[in-house]
């Protein structure tokens, strides 16, 4: 059964220096508060995994938490580039960032393989692109039945996956709905999981399109209302598009960024 923990305790216990960490959420339900807690606890040398490293990974990278990034699309959706990500790749600031780059289909299938207990996934993908030239984790494979050449990618098995959801009950059963992306697969692929939720309720009322993660498949649950801001939580909040636009200017300059992290992350008041 999942343990109910505070965000600070959950991160302290489950996210360790050098870990492979996946924070997932496809525009919706991005676990920003947990990412900020990882920055506050000054985790280092993380391999960060995420299909769409956007503003939260820009913050983790700029704060020096990451050594390596495994991803398929790194940008600020609808706004432009990630300046901290670019600065790390182009100028090794604040530390060098190693990249392992995939397509969305490849990353999604890597999580599926991890969740399924398989060593790899197979798909029609990457063929003819330059992506396989830069990682050994994209390889051709022959179908044993038809002889057709397909593509294999290894399973993703994060040490810890962190996601945000609408709510959980006291036994740690987690319920999410709306765009649920690849979160179920990312949680089931990981050794450990930390799930932040808007609220903890006595009973989970069914919702159309819901995904339920049983408490016995989850390591820890922390109540963090608003924990997805500036992303959103359907039924609880709307996306703060203004913040995503504002991030472009905040993140462009190293000093402005560092000052923002100091004021809004390190010195932020964190409810227990």
């Amino acid at each position: 059964m999942a343990k109910l923990v505070s965000l600070a305790d959950g991160v302290a216990e489950l996210v360790r220096d050098g870990d492979t960490v996946a924070l997932e959420g496809f525009t919706h339900l991005i676990p920003f508060a947990a990412g900020h807690e990882i920055i506050r606890q000054r985790r280092r040398d993380l391999t960060l995994v995420r299909m769409t490293p956007d503003v939260i990974y820009d913050q983790l990278i700029g704060a020096g938490c990451a050594r390596r990034l495994v991803f398929s699309w790194g940008g600020n959706p609808g706004v432009g580039s990630l300046h901290r990500f670019r600065d790390a790749v182009q100028n090794s600031w604040p530390v060098p960032l190693e990249l392992e780059e995939h397509s969305h289909a490849g990353m999604a299938n890597r999580y599926v393989a991890g969740a399924s207990g398989l060593p790899f996934a197979v798909l029609r993908g990457y063929t003819g692109t330059d992506l396989p030239r830069h990682t050994t984790n994209i390889r051709p494979i022959e179908c044993p039945f038809t002889g057709e050449t397909l593509t294999a990618v290894p399973a993703l098995r994060p040490d810890v996956t962190v996601v945000h959801a609408q709510r959980a009950d006291r036994a740690g059963n987690v319920q999410m709905w709306g765009i649920t992306g690849v979160q179920k697969e990312a949680v089931l692929a990981a050794q450990r999981s930390l799930i932040t939720v808007e609220e903890i309720v006595d009973e989970l009322e069914p919702v159309p399109g819901q995904v339920v993660l049983p408490g016995w498949a989850v390591t820890a649950v922390a109540r963090v209302p608003g924990g997805s801001h500036p992303s959103y939580t359907q039924g609880y909040s709307v996306r703060d598009n203004e913040f995503y636009r504002a991030w472009d200017a905040i993140s462009r300059d190293r000093d402005t960024f560092t000052d923002w992290i100091a004021r809004h992350v390190h010195e932020a008041e964190v409810p227990a």
Binding site: F26, S103, A105, T127, R133, G178
Partner: protein
Amino acid sequence: MTEYTADEMMTVAAARQLRDGTACFVGIGLPSTAANLARATHAPGLVLIYESGCLGAKPDRLPLSIGDGVLADTADAVVSVPEVFNYWLQPGRIDVGFLGAAQLDRYGNINTTVVGGDYTDPKVRLPGAGGAPEIAASCGEVVVVVRQSLRTFTERVDFVTSVGYGSGPGDRARLGLRGGGPRTVITDLGVLEADPATCELTLTRLHPGVTVDQARAATGWPLAVADELATGEPPTADELAVLRALEATKRTAR
């Protein structure tokens, strides 16, 4: 006649490319604007599929990102990300894929990864692949929307993120790519179509007021031009009104 910008002409031309009743894989930005313009004008039955897992989304305003709540709220179904790629895109269920490009070559190969330098030390690091490689591989056909300039229309792309026609005829079949590839490229200057025999992008239509010389000057290779070069229709008053109303929803979106 109503004034319009080159970007508005490009968006309208892209929207006109979409046939009613087809299923379209939509990326954020101009493709999303064009697809929603099509749905609000000549193609009310256009099925919009967003990679966030929203099948048949019917947004009444332009989403800023592919996972905006309005897409889930208005979709026929919201599925997981593995499902959208494995069950819907990979088997060839989607008719048209819309892609942008930072660089494009004469065979419609696309780069959205790195420009200049080399891969580990690029001059410019771009967002990367996202869903594009498999969209380019598996959709019935691909429509590329890109502003035409010497910076974007390059002799060689610095990185092949998504395959068009590779190095020419036969390459798609040899690579096992089952979709039709980039049949059409819409730019701010006109429309290019892949030549059925050579696979080379060929200028077939200019937007009103644009000359062939302008198109040639904005292309980093000797541009093939169709014998019967057409001039496209300017945006209608209705197209412009709907487009501007859609754009306005982006500014007022929360």
